[in-house]
């Protein structure tokens, strides 16, 4: 570890043979991707904003907001992010792959829990007739919440694949870099959720 300069990722603890620079490009590229994704979410938020009153006589914010469930979902997603941070720390301090995997699976389980509650909510919405076909408001609502949900589902798939890879290859540099990017993604989804939580649900019923 003679050349500290090459350790561009203090949080990553990569081996120091070559490669480091390229991994850094990947993380940087992933940031750029997240910026683009943020624009996407921002636009869907904006559309939702313009359609807030386009309920066309159908269910509105009060009918679609089930605060208890939303609170649970928020809790689960925060827990998931929190667990992921511990996993990242475990990786950084080389606490062993099992310690890492335990935190990793906590993150995955609570993410999955979030998704299940969300699906239950969706199911309820269908029952009360608050389907996206009912109004512009509901179209925007389903798209915004659903887009986030799809991202979470994608993240879960990613967690699953990485778990298999860790079991197969161990915490190699390549995999560490993948975990870092997944982490960015996972926390990013949390931030988006905070936006949905406050702008769609809280502001909706306030």
């Amino acid at each position: 570890m003679s050349d500290q300069q090459t350790n561009m990722h203090p949080g990553l603890n990569l081996g120091y043979v070559g490669g480091g620079k390229h991994e850094e490009s990947k993380v940087f590229g992933f940031w750029v991707f997240l910026m683009s994704d943020l624009v996407t979410f921002g636009l869907v938020f904006a559309i939702f904003g313009t359609m807030r009153n386009a309920t066309a006589g159908g269910p509105g914010a009060h009918e679609v907001t089930e605060l208890r469930s939303i609170a649970i979902q928020t809790g689960l997603l925060l827990l998931s992010s929190f667990a992921f941070s511990w996993a990242s720390l475990a990786m950084k301090y080389e606490a062993g792959r099992w310690r890492f995997l335990i935190w990793f699976s906590v993150a995955a389980t609570s993410g999955l829990g979030f998704l299940i509650f969300e699906l239950l909510d969706f199911h309820h919405l269908i029952e009360i007739g608050a389907v996206p076909q009912r109004s512009g408001y509901l179209s925007a609502f389903w798209s915004l919440v659903g887009l986030h949900g799809l991202h979470v589902a994608g993240g879960l798939l990613w967690i699953g694949v990485l778990t298999l890879q860790i079991l197969k290859f161990g915490l190699t540099d390549t995999i560490k870099s993948r975990i870092t990017r997944l982490g960015l993604y996972w926390h990013f989804l949390d931030i988006v959720w905070i936006g949905i939580f406050s702008l769609v649900f809280l502001a909706g019923v306030a």
Binding site: F28, G29, M35, G58, R134, Y137, S139, A140, W142
Partner: protein, 692 residues
């Protein structure tokens, strides 16, 4: 039983249309379908006959070399341009006969302007600029490849998907008829249930992802992979414009994707984003589309500005005037381009304040644009100008582009815009900026960098004749449209009832024939040049006395671009080396070069997404699900595999490099007087002095 073919029926095959109902109109439609099919079969037959499959597969389709990918983008662009130009000429022919009628049916006319616009913007202009950026960025910044070579190939695959879907729509079913902007509710399910708008949505959405990833890739490449010493302010101007375009791609594509996917949800799942009823609002579409659409025009034109910057200084044999001004202008254009989108619908009933604000913002963009033109003029000032084919294009660009700028300024004034919006004035305006601005820039660039890519120059005489044909043809075809617009003739109109328009139409038709000849001229140029390739060969790599790094390697460059990564001490690095008399040096030792291995990722992405787009268009749900799952599965499996890099041993690098250096040193070089004759082998005897 699952529905194997969705809503696809045999009657959708356009090939047979003519035989069911013979007319000029169906002859054109079926003819186009047959042409597509026959051309595809001919290409396949030729490859088989020439036993080229292995070559095609190994050297091109699975290659991750940015140079090859760049060239493949250009090929897509030219193939699609053949279609676009042809459609343009057919439309002109129709309008010439359109006094109370016209040779084509109105429906077919609508399909033509819609496909022409879509193809020209998304599958000609975009591949052209992406191709150039691919080819040039790594060479100009002294890198061996893109930051993400595989992603680069996937982007290419997605672009090909979009192009393929629009080609398939020629043969199966029909394309959309709402223009390249595809405004709902006209393109909504209530008014057009047919496959047309679906083709459009998926072609655009899928290729849009490709463009976004290209932007990401270029941006990271420029940020992270510059050769040591190449500060931002030492980058060539083309790279600057490429950087700005990349940033625009990353931020401007999401609105388009969002608009497309919402439109898809409206059409397929009965959502109400843009419908007339239940709270839908098409104004949201207009906003989303143009939040993409306006930056898009700068995405397209900035790299062309970059090419013009390089070529003025190259052929005036002097240093670029006002580098900093150019950089600042480019940056400010990029930023402001996000703040003007509303000028595409001053007529939507916005408040006067909003209209005025966006009108002024649009005017502000004209300032840096104007600066650029002046900077280029100043670059020519005090030069020793060689009037080569690229300079012909540049002359046309200067003169015509400012006319396009003038009409832009006119359109930026809402009070006038209310009169000329949606008329032929607009058609004249955007062709005026796209052809002389973008397309001339690309063709000039092809002349300049073709020798770099293929090792021989393009024939000057054929090139110059072609360039003049483009310029004159453009003037005839599009300048009359300004007047038709001022007289109130709407765009996208299949017929007119005012006999006064007829003379204008005839002039336009003549122009369109010239443009067709000009397009053919490109291929004549290529043909002539290939036949004379020995005479035109410039293997030493520097035919134009270039100033930037891409000229400091052989033509064509080796897969690893540079034998050793250069160290940059100042702007115009190669010009400096030449002035100091130390180009073509061999290093003390060579190192192994590591390159990414070939992969079929791009092809797999293309096949999967094309199948997906086609399935979503025709409601073949099983295929849609299968293609998505298949792609995800492939990706997951792929991520488990190791992908060892290909190592080029130092000796091979040395062999290639030493041979090139030796050849270059033995050649005494040509002065600029011999630039365009067969003495030019790509070694420049520099007659310019370089900055100190």
């Amino acid at each position: 039983m699952i529905d194997l073919f969705g809503r696809l029926e045999w009657q959708e095959l356009k090939l047979l249309e003519f035989f069911h109902d013979p007319s000029i109109d169906t002859a054109v439609a079926s003819g186009a379908a047959w042409m597509t099919v026959v051309a595809a079969i001919a290409v396949i037959a030729w490859i088989t006959w020439a036993r080229r499959w292995a070559w095609l597969w190994n050297d091109w389709l699975t290659s991750v070399d940015h140079k090859k990918i760049g060239i493949m983008y250009m090929v897509i662009g030219f193939v699609m341009m053949a279609r676009g130009v042809f459609e343009g000429v057919v439309m002109r022919a129709h309008q010439t006969t359109a006094l109370d009628g016209g040779v084509l049916s109105n429906e077919h006319w609508a399909e033509l302007f819609s496909t022409h616009g879509t193809v020209m913007i998304f599958f000609v202009a975009m591949p052209f600029i992406t191709g150039f950026m691919n080819y040039l960025i790594p060479l100009q910044i002294g890198a061996r490849d893109m930051a993400f070579p595989v992603l680069n190939q996937i982007s290419l695959g997605l672009t090909a998907t979009g192009a393929a879907l629009t080609m398939i729509s020629l043969v199966v079913g029909a394309f959309e008829t709402g223009g390249w902007t595809a405004y709902p509710p006209f393109t909504g399910a209530d008014f057009d249930p047919g496959p047309g708008p679906d083709y459009w949505v998926w072609a655009i959405a899928l290729s849009g992802f490709g463009s976004m990833f290209s932007g990401l890739n270029f941006a990271v490449t420029i940020y992270k992979m510059r050769a040591p010493g190449m500060h931002f302010l030492r980058m060539p101007v083309f790279t600057w414009t490429a950087l700005c375009t990349s940033i625009l791609l990353v931020f401007a594509l999401p609105p388009l994707t969002v608009a497309c996917l919402m439109q898809a949800l409206d059409r397929l799942a009965g959502f109400h984003f843009f419908t007339n009823d239940l709270g839908g609002n098409m104004m949201n579409y207009a906003n989303l589309f143009w939040m993409f659409g306006h930056p898009e025009v700068y995405i397209l034109v900035l790299p062309a500005y970059g090419i013009f910057s390089e070529l003025t200084s190259m052929f005036a044999a002097k240093r670029l005037y006002g580098y900093t001004s150019l950089v600042i202008a480019t940056m400010s254009i990029s930023v402001i381009s996000f703040c003007v989108w509303l000028h595409h619908f001053f007529t939507m009933g916005n408040s006067a304040t909003i209209n005025a604000a966006f009108g002024i913002a649009t005017g502000i963009i004209a300032i840096p644009t104007g600066v650029k033109v002046y900077v280029w003029m100043a670059t020519l000032w005090g030069g020793r100008i060689r009037f080569t084919a690229p300079m012909v294009y540049m002359t046309g660009f200067f003169i015509l582009f400012v006319i396009g700028g003038l009409s832009g300024i006119i359109l930026a004034n809402p009070a006038i815009n209310w009169q000329v919006h949606n008329t032929q004035f607009i058609v004249a305006h955007f062709h005026n900026v796209l052809l002389p601005g973008l397309i001339f820039g690309i063709f000039a660039g092809v002349h300049i960098w073709f020798p770099k890519a293929f090792g021989f120059r393009l024939d000057e005489r054929a090139g110059k004749i072609t360039a003049w044909l483009w310029i004159v043809g453009f003037c005839f075809t599009f300048l009359p449209l300004y007047f038709l617009g001022l007289m109130g003739y709407p765009r996208r109109s299949a017929a007119f009832d005012n006999p006064e328009f007829l003379p204008y139409m005839i002039v336009c038709m003549l122009g369109a024939l010239m443009l067709m000849a000009a397009f053919a001229g490109l291929f004549v140029t290529l043909w002539v040049s290939i036949r004379k390739r020995d005479e035109l060969a410039v293997p030493l790599g520097d035919p134009w006395d270039g100033r930037t790094l891409e000229w400091a390697t052989s033509a064509p460059p080796p897969p690893w671009n540079f034998a050793m990564i250069p160290h940059i001490g100042e702007r115009d690095a190669f010009a400096r080396e030449k002035a100091d008399g130390r180009p073509y040096v061999t290093p003390e030792y060579y190192e192994d070069v590591h390159l990414p291995p070939n992969t079929s990722a791009g092809l797999i992405a293309m096949v999967a997404t094309t199948a997906f787009g086609f399935a979503m268009t025709w409601w073949i749900w099983w295929l849609a699900v299968a293609s998505v799952l298949g792609f995800i599965l492939w990706y997951v499996v792929h991520s488990f595999r190791e992908h060892p890099e290909v190592t080029i041993p130092a000796v091979e690098v040395e062999r290639h490099h030493a041979a090139w250096v030796e050849a270059a040193t033995l050649n005494e070089g040509v002065t600029r007087d011999d630039e365009t004759n067969s003495r030019n082998r790509g070694r420049a005897a520099t007659d310019m002095v370089v900055a100190s």
